[in-house]
Amino acid sequence: MILYILRRLVSVAVTFIVVSLIIFFMMHAIPGGPFDANDMPVSEAVRAKLMAQLGLDQPLHVQYLRYMWGVLHFDFGVPYQSPGETVTQLLSRAWVPSLVLGGLGVIIGAPLGILLGMAAALNRNSWIDYFASTLATLGLTIPVFVTSMLLILVFAVWLNWLPASGWGKPERWILPIVAYALIPLATYARYTRSAMLDTLNRPFVTVLRAKGLSENRIVFQHVLRNSAIPLVTVFLPMFIGTATGSIFVEAMFRVPGLGAYFVSSIEGRDYPLEMALMLMITFMYCIAYLLSDIVYALINPRIRVGGEP
C-alpha cells in the first residue's frame, strides 16, 4: 500500500513538473509582452529597465527556474495588472466569491443528485427515472453559460423575481448557485443511477432478499455502500472544477471571482498571475487524482490486495 502511494506520488510529481514546463513555455510563446508600446507608451530605455527589473530580459529557462524556486517558497510574484499586491493576496481575495458560490453549488447539487439517482434506480422506467435521465442529460450536455443565460432570462428578465447579477446580497447568490449546482446534480444523478442498477443486479442482493432483509436495509446498508466507489472518485475533480470559479458563470452573473482573471491574465500577458492560476489548478487536480486513487484503494480491497491497480 505504501509502495503504491509512493509510486503514485512520484508519477503525479513528474506530471506536475511537465505540465508546468509546457504551460510556462506556451505562455511565453504567445506573441507580444506585458509592456508593449500600445499598452504602455514609454521610451525604449524605460521599457528595458522595467523588463530587467522583472527579470523578463533573462533567457526563458532562467525565468522558469526563478519562478519555480519562488513557488517552492510560496512566492508567486507580483501581478502586472495590479502591482500594489502580491499574486497570493490577489488570489485569496478573488477566490472567496468563487469558493462560496461553487462550493455551495456542489454541496447542494451533489446530495440532490445522489437522491435523484437513487430514486431513478429504485423505480426503473417510472416517470422519476425518465425525469432524472432527462435532467442528467440536459445538465451534462448544455454548456453552463447557456443554462445561466436561460436562468437570467426566466427569473430576472421575465419574472423579475431575482436580481440578474452582482455579488454581496444573498439573493444575488441564488441564480449563480443554481447554475453551478446543475453540474454536480446531473453528474451524480447519472453516476448514482448506473452504479446502483449495476449493484442491484448482483447475485448478493438476491441472497439478501432471500434472507428476508428489509428492502430499506438492503438499499442503504449494502447497495449504496457497494455503489459508492465511482461516486467517491468523481467528487474531488468535480469539486475543483466548480470551486475554482467558472469563467462562464462568473462572466454571466458579473461575480468578482477568479474566473475573470483567467482571461485577463492571458490577454494582458500577466505572466506571474497566469502561471500561478494554472499551477494552482493543475496542482489541485493532481492532488485530487492522487487522493481519489488512494481512497479508491482504501475502500476497494480488490485493488489494495491485488497490488497492480
Partner: protein
C-alpha cells in the same frame, strides 16, 4: 444444392441488424437523429433558405427589430437578419464538430492501437501523455493555445482534436487489449504476420464500434469548446457567424431585446443535445456492454 435444403428456418442476422433494432427501439435517439439530419440539411442549403447573406447589413433601419413575419428571428444590432445568422451559425458549429471529431479519430486510433497491442513501455508512455491531458482543464489550455495561435477556424478544430483524441484512444486501447489474446490474432502471429498488419487487418476492423462511438461523442464536445471559446472572444473571429459569439453579444441586449440572446442559446442547446443523444443511442446500439457509462 443441398445447402439450401438444410438451411435453418430462421435467417442468420448480422450484428448490424441487431444494432439497428436496438437503435430503433430508442425513441430519444431517433428523434435526435432526425433533428440532427435537419440541422445538417439546413447548414448545407443555408443560402437557399435564408433571405439575405449572413454578413449583409441590409436592414440597418430596422436594427434590433423584434421577430416578425419578415424577419423570423428579428434583426441584430448591426442590421443583419438574425434568422440568417443562426442558420449560418449551424455551418460553423457542425463543420467544426465533425472535423474535430475526424481529427480526434485520426490521432486516437493509431495511439490507442499501439498502446493496446504492444502494452508495456509503449502503453506506459501513452498513458502518461493522457494523464498530462487529464490534469489540465481543456478550456484553460484551449485559451492559452487560442491566444498563442490567434484563434481562427482551423486552429479551433486542431485544439478540439487535441483534447478529443484521448477518449477515442482509451476506447480503442481497451478493445485492442481485449482482442489481442484471441485465437485468430494468435494464429496470425504464428503465421508470421507483422504487428502493423495484424493491427490494420484484424484489430482495427474489430474496434470499429468503439471508433464510431468515439467519433460521434467527440462532436458535441468540439462544438461546446468552439462555442465557449467564441463566447470568450478568442474563437472564430467576427464577422463569421457563430453561436457562441452571438450569445456573448446577446447578453448586452438581454434586458431589452431578448431575441438576440434566446435564439443562439436555443440553437446551441438543441444542436449539442441532439448530437449527444444520437451518440448515446449509437453507443447503446453498437456496444450494449458500454451502456450507462
Amino acid at each position: 444444392m443441398t445447402s439450401e435444403a438444410v438451411a435453418p428456418a430462421y435467417r442468420q442476422r448480422n450484428p448490424l441488424w441487431f444494432a439497428w433494432r436496438r437503435f430503433a427501439g430508442n425513441k430519444a435517439a431517433i428523434v435526435a437523429g432526425v433533428v440532427l439530419a435537419l440541422l445538417i440539411l439546413m447548414a448545407i442549403f443555408a443560402p437557399l433558405i435564408t433571405p439575405a447573406p449572413p454578413d449583409a447589413q441590409l436592414f440597418l433601419t430596422e436594427a434590433l427589430a423584434f421577430p416578425s413575419a419578415e424577419h423570423w428571428f428579428g434583426v441584430d444590432n448591426l442590421g443583419r437578419d438574425f434568422y440568417t445568422r443562426i442558420v449560418y451559425g449551424a455551418r460553423v458549429s457542425l463543420t467544426i464538430g465533425f472535423a474535430a471529431a475526424a481529427f480526434s479519430v485520426i490521432i486516437g486510433i493509431p495511439l490507442g492501437a499501439l498502446a493496446g497491442y504492444f502494452g508495456g513501455r509503449t502503453d506506459w508512455v501513452i498513458m502518461r501523455i493522457i494523464e498530462l491531458f487529464s490534469v489540465v482543464p481543456p478550456l484553460l489550455a484551449a485559451m492559452l493555445l487560442g491566444a498563442l495561435t490567434r484563434g481562427g477556424y482551423f486552429t479551433i478544430v486542431l485544439i478540439a482534436a487535441l483534447f478529443g483524441w484521448v477518449q477515442v484512444c482509451l476506447l480503442v486501447r481497451a478493445q485492442v487489449k481485449a482482442f489481442r489474446e484471441k485465437e485468430f490474432v494468435r494464429a496470425a502471429q504464428a503465421l508470421g504476420a507483422s504487428p502493423w498488419y495484424i493491427i490494420r487487418r484484424h484489430l482495427i476492423p474489430n474496434s470499429i464500434s468503439p471508433i464510431i462511438v468515439g467519433f460521434v461523442l467527440a462532436i458535441p464536445l468540439a462544438m461546446m469548446l468552439e462555442a465557449s471559446l467564441s463566447f470568450l472572444g478568442i474563437g472564430v473571429p467576427p464577422p463569421t457567424p457563430t453561436w457562441g459569439q452571438m450569445i456573448n453579444e446577446g447578453i448586452d441586449f438581454m434586458f431589452f431585446y431578448w431575441h438576440l440572446a434566446v435564439f443562439p442559446t436555443a440553437a446551441l442547446a438543441i444542436t449539442v443535445l441532439a448530437t449527444t443523444l444520437f451518440g448515446d443511442g449509437l453507443r447503446d446500439a453498437l456496444d450494449p456492454t458500454l451502456k450507462g457509462r
